[in-house]
Symmetry: C2
Subunit: 216 residues, 2 copies
């Protein structure tokens, strides 16, 4: 019985890792779409985000079936409840990256990013892609040091997010309202994406250290 249960937990973990990998692909394609007005990547990102949502639903079903059959307690129970939350976060991350791709789609063949903010968004995109890759590794290895590193990188994304507002609300900003809307929303999506990575790493830290906390 215990062996079956361990197999099931491994299956849950594998599926979470797979979702994290997909999420990272979605963000790579969405960023490329957003930064380079690449409509093919945009469409791929949007399609992958949809598929990711279906994977989240299927994973939740699997977790519920395991809960029903195994009636786990203590740490095993918390692992499964955490899996539900992590799958919800990965689902949202895919959706947020999909929204970034949609902005690129709407503006095509025009650019969604004005040159003044290009470097800012390139760094945000690079960090978000890196963060989502770290999530895959973290979910495979539950490495607490990696979790701490993630939290530090998220702080940089927050800084870049605030910088977008500083630029847009500064005296030198002469772009039209369309650019203002696009960069405001895109920056929010990049920032929320990184927030979810932090949420996931907090859950994983908990599983390792025993501290159950949504501390920020």
């Amino acid at each position: 019985m215990r062996e079956v249960f361990q197999q099931q937990l491994t299956e849950v973990q594998d599926r979470l890792v797979e979702m994290a990998t997909t999420t990272s692909h979605i963000m790579q394609k969405a960023s490329s779409a957003f930064l380079n007005s690449d409509v093919v990547s945009a469409d791929e990102a949007i399609a992958l985000a949809d598929a990711n949502g279906s994977k989240a639903l299927a994973l939740d079903e699997l977790v519920i079936r395991i809960l029903a059959k195994q009636s786990p307690v203590a740490r095993d129970l918390r692992v499964l409840v955490s899996a539900l939350r992590i799958s919800a976060s990965l689902d949202r991350m895919g959706a947020l990256a999909g929204h970034i791709a949609s902005i690129a789609r709407y503006r095509f063949p025009g650019a969604a990013v004005p040159t003044t903010l290009r470097a800012n968004f390139e760094e945000m995109a690079r960090l978000d892609v890196e963060l989502s890759k770290r999530v895959s590794i973290l979910l495979k290895n539950t490495d607490v040091d990696l979790a701490r590193q993630i939290q530090a990188e998220d702080a940089r994304v927050d800084e870049l997010h605030r910088n977008v507002f500083d630029v847009v609300l500064g005296d030198d900003w002469k772009e039209n309202a369309m650019y203002t809307v696009d960069v405001t929303l895109a920056s929010r999506y990049f920032e929320r994406f990184a927030d979810h990575v932090v949420d996931i790493s907090t859950k994983v830290s908990y599983l390792t250290t025993g501290e159950w906390n949504d501390a920020e």
Copy 2:
């Protein structure tokens, strides 16, 4: 044993209803802050949103304890897993309303809404407050007709959200970038708030009809 379990389920339900009521208060205060530059309401909304987050954590702990002690299966198990998700949505709704209050706080003593979009945001605010009140009732009674009504009202919020973009991207929009940023983000928060109401009503519908689906 069954009686104890029923009492525990009732406790979970009561706490969800209480969170929904708090969420509705947060949105009322946040909307008032946003529409009337009312800084006292803004601070109250932000404080209540924090408290709501703590309630969500406490409720999750309770659900996990019940899962561990009672090892529920079938419908009981799904009720508890749904409770975890509903509590996460109510937590996010409080946070989103808190963000709306924060916008008002930043712009104080100035207004966050230009006159051209005032009526639009008044209607969004009214609908969001109404939607969150309906969630309280729905969680008390699991009334499927009410769930359908909620889905229709959310469609109107989406329409108002799209209208904000039509106005901001239209030729007549002459407001500065600060207004553009504020209304873009606020509209997004109002829209996401309503989305969560739909998610909750979908979960409740499921519990009544047996169809487990995140269909939109």
